[in-house]
């Protein structure tokens, strides 16, 4: 092994050491940027400077997929392995790239390359996607190997459409909206109005708007804020959840790269309403370009007096920092995200207590999704009544949908709640590509399948619930009739087995057992009792897991078993349509 020069690390230790354990992920990221991986002496130096036990630091490095305890190639190509990219030829891309790579760890700079499979990169509308040294690459099958390895590639373009443009008003320029542009288009007027009202009035307005969370759990936002506002504890925190990693979801990425100030304004409104003085914006580790854009926007806001000791000249003071995830889907779960900010493995906590009373650092905390926060400037600037003009009585407002897979125009679509699936798919996204509609996965990996009979379903919380479909985070992955859904299920099974945190037995063991059975199913050779096994495993995960990951890890599989039981019997016995 080469000698490790620890003097390089000094500035990192000086910056992060005084902050203690909470700075563990930032310190490890900074250290890995210097050395390319996290060698033992580096991990030890970080542990000592931050006063974290050595074993704990190692436990953290081991938990997050983007931290490397061993030396890796200078260039790592991460090829997305999840359904949308899988359908667009990710396997062939992976094979092709692998065959081009000669792994040679000790070769001079720029020559060592490895190819790895990655979970959904949040670039589903650009399938097949990959990431090279943090740079996002669209339609990677159309790039030459040389360009990929050199990272000389254009940034993916934003694909937005829809019936309305409230949340996406400033999206589509293919560059971030500046503070000046945002302010000129009416930005930060919602915050100004908020600062002239009492926190209680704002909470009342948000409640009246009927806004519910867009992160997947659909919890009423005003109610959540009220809980934290009424909780005792100081300081209080607000957190923007930008850990977007649900396979098929890319809406938060598009919002961040196009219009970061809208989200920041939402976060500030939230902070003022609940009485929080500090905030965090937690962005998934794979979104490096978006992280830069958000960092720049936050800096702009701080320069302009929108963040800091006196927000927009008012007595309200608020500041915040941006945190980078490190490759763990589970850290999108709110309590796992707190653990991650606190410098720990992303293990979800037992609830209750809930974040509104015992959140980040044990203090009252509001955590909201990026899209949820992006609704607030409009609500505050135009009032709840006007907001409710969009959508239905029970599902007011605009909604973003992420369409990918076999669809003519994949992308992000903004519609009022209440349009039909048919309208979204056929009128807006140009219909199914390559054949007839066979199925659509609603809600991502944690979701359930819709079939052509659901085309008339209106996209609202109430209609989808009645149809047994989750809205989740607004993912719709489309499959034409030529697709083998067993391959899709296999990818989902792999995703959950990879991403389970391992804390509770039903999910730690169940995601593995489920994946093993799905491998047999995908190969067309399930064992006689596999249907019963999948059901027992599935229901046990759903019913007995500690957190939402395990509770939804069998959702798509169970839904496929209801729609297409023939997929789960040995190939010889299965119905013809299953053999495509």
């Amino acid at each position: 092994m080469n000698e490790i020069d620890l003097t390089l690390l000094e500035p990192v230790l000086q910056t992060y050491g005084p902050q203690g354990r909470t700075a563990l992920l930032p310190a490890l990221h900074a250290a890995q940027d210097l050395y390319g991986y996290l060698p033992e002496p580096v991990a030890e130096a970080v542990a000592r400077a931050l006063h974290v036990p050595l074993a704990d630091v190692h436990g953290v490095i081991e938990f997050y997929a983007m931290f490397y305890p061993q030396k890796v190639a200078q260039t790592v190509l991460h090829v997305c392995n999840d359904p949308a990219c899988g359908m667009a030829g990710a396997d062939a891309l992976f094979k092709n790239l692998t065959s081009r790579v000669e792994l040679n760890l000790d070769a001079p700079s720029g020559t060592s390359v490895t190819v790895e499979r990655a979970p959904c990169l949040g670039l589903c509308e650009h399938a097949p996607a990959l990431m090279v040294q943090g740079a996002q690459v669209a339609q990677a099958d159309r790039r030459s190997y040389e360009d990929l390895v050199r990272g000389r590639l254009p940034r993916p373009r934003t694909l937005v459409g829809g019936d309305i443009a409230i949340l996406t008003a400033n999206c589509g320029k293919n560059r971030p909206t500046t503070l000046e542009e945002y302010t000129q288009s009416g930005g930060y007027s919602g915050l100004r109005r908020a600062l002239q009202s009492s926190p209680a009035e704002i909470i009342a307005e948000v409640k009246a708007s009927g806004l519910v969370g867009r992160g997947g759990a659909a919890f009423p936002t005003g109610l959540k804020w009220e809980g934290a506002a009424n909780a005792s504890g100081d300081p209080k925190y607000v957190v923007c959840n930008a850990d977007e990693a649900e396979p098929g979801t890319f809406k938060d990425r598009v919002l961040m790269e196009n219009d970061p100030h809208r989200i920041l304004e939402g976060l500030l409104i939230c902070a003022y309403a609940v009485g929080a003085s500090y905030g965090y914006w937690y962005i998934r580790g794979e979104y490096t370009a978006q992280m830069e854009i958000v960092t720049h926007a936050v800096e702009e806001a701080r320069q302009a007096g929108i963040l800091g000791g006196s927000v927009l000249g008012s007595p309200f003071h608020f500041d915040m920092e941006i945190r980078r995830g490190a490759g763990a889907y589970i850290c999108g779960e709110e309590t796992a995200l707190f653990e991650s900010i606190e410098g720990k493995r992303g293990f979800p906590r037992i609830k209750p207590p809930f974040p509104t009373t015992h959140g980040l650092f044990g203090r009252p905390t509001v955590i909201n999704n990026v899209e949820t926060l992006a609704n607030l400037p409009y609500i505050l600037a135009h009032g709840a009544a006007q907001y409710r003009q969009m959508g239905t009585e029970k599902s007011p407002g605009p909604k973003l949908f992420c369409l990918s897979g076999d669809v003519v125009r994949p992308g992000l679509y903004e519609v009022p709640f209440g349009v039909t699936f048919d309208h979204l798919l056929n009128d807006l996204a140009g219909g199914v590509r390559g054949g007839e509609l066979k199925a659509a996965l609603f809600g991502g990996a944690a979701g359930a399948f819709a079939t052509p009979q659901h085309l008339g379903v209106r996209l609202t919380f109430e209609d989808l619930r009645a149809a047994g479909l989750p809205l989740g985070s607004g993912v719709i992955t489309v499959f034409n009739q030529h697709r083998d859904l067993r391959d899709v299920l296999l990818r989902l099974g792999h995703f959950f087995a990879d991403e389970s945190c391992g804390k509770c037995y039903p999910c730690q063991l169940g995601t593995q057992r489920q994946y093993e059975i799905l491998q047999r199913v995908a190969a067309g050779s399930p064992l006689p009792e596999d249907v019963a096994r999948l059901q027992d495993v599935g229901w046990t995960m759903t019913d007995a897991s500690l957190c939402g990951l395990g509770q939804t890890a069998a959702s798509a599989v169970l839904s496929a078993m209801r729609h297409w039981p023939e997929l789960f019997v040995p190939a010889a016995q299965s119905a013809p349509q299953a053999q495509v």
């Binding site: 036990p53 074993a55 190692h58 493995r345 087995a497 389970s500 063991l509």
Partner: protein, 238 residues
């Protein structure tokens, strides 16, 4: 909050002090709920989910070792839904871990009619035995990830922080900093972890050697020299 709470468990009224877990409330009512990860002297984390019960109005089952009794709660500790979850967890565990020295877990399996062969061709966790110190051996093929050893080594007792986790999900394992041998870690060989391990994954070295067929004298000899070598090591390093 009132001092005592009344609830019903399996139709039977029970009154317990506020803050009592459902596990303890059931115990008070003479109802026994199986547990693996729970230990009276360790922080309860709700890991194994063997203790799950059905609470009216709750979407999912709840872990009784951590859920607190609430007024008028209606609890079922042995409903079909509960038994299915317990049985499946045990079957999946049997397929993953060597439970040959965990008689208590085996007894639960029998009671619940869990089939240890339910999952054919399942991957087992089978890391090699770690024999790196004179005090105890670590056979993580028997580890059920109850977290007790990690917790007593940390804030639950000893504050030594010698062990933590490696990997995640099914691949999770208990380990040291960069897999170093225990004598090179902060471990003080207090033996607390060995004491709380429910499956014999952690075992006194002498017991282990005895099981391998060594005589008492041989064992004394082997472990004594090992200890001396340890003591000398820092000096000769100078």
């Amino acid at each position: 909050m009132s001092e005592s709470i009344s609830l019903t468990i399996n139709g039977q009224p029970v009154t317990v002090p506020a803050g009592t877990t459902l596990l303890k409330a059931a115990e008070q009512a003479g109802i026994s709920i199986p547990t693996i990860c729970y230990h009276d002297y360790c922080t309860a984390n709700g890991l194994c989910r063997l203790c799950v019960v059905e609470v009216e109005g709750s979407r999912t089952l709840v872990a009784s070792c951590v859920a607190k009794a609430a007024p008028n709660m209606q609890v079922q500790t042995h409903s079909e839904r509960v038994l299915r979850a317990r049985r499946t967890v045990l079957e999946m565990l049997e397929a993953s871990v060597d439970l040959s020295e965990a008689p208590e877990i085996q007894a639960f399996s029998q009671e619940l009619n869990a089939d240890p062969q339910r999952f054919p061709d399942a991957e087992k966790r089978q890391p090699p035995v770690v024999d790196d110190n004179p005090m105890y051996v670590r056979d993580y093929a028997k580890c059920v990830l109850c977290w007790r050893c990690v917790q007593v080594c940390a804030e639950d007792a000893q504050y030594t922080f010698a062990i933590n986790f490696t990997g995640r999900g099914f691949e999770t394992q208990i380990g040291t900093f960069f897999e170093k041998p225990l004598p090179d870690t902060s471990c003080v060989f207090c033996g607390q972890c060995v004491g709380v391990c429910p499956t014999n994954a952690l075992k006194p070295k002498r017991q282990w050697l005895m099981e391998q067929g060594y005589s008492t004298d041989e064992i004394m000899d082997m472990t004594r020299t090992e200890r001396r070598r340890r003591k000398r090591a820092p000096l000769s390093a100078e």
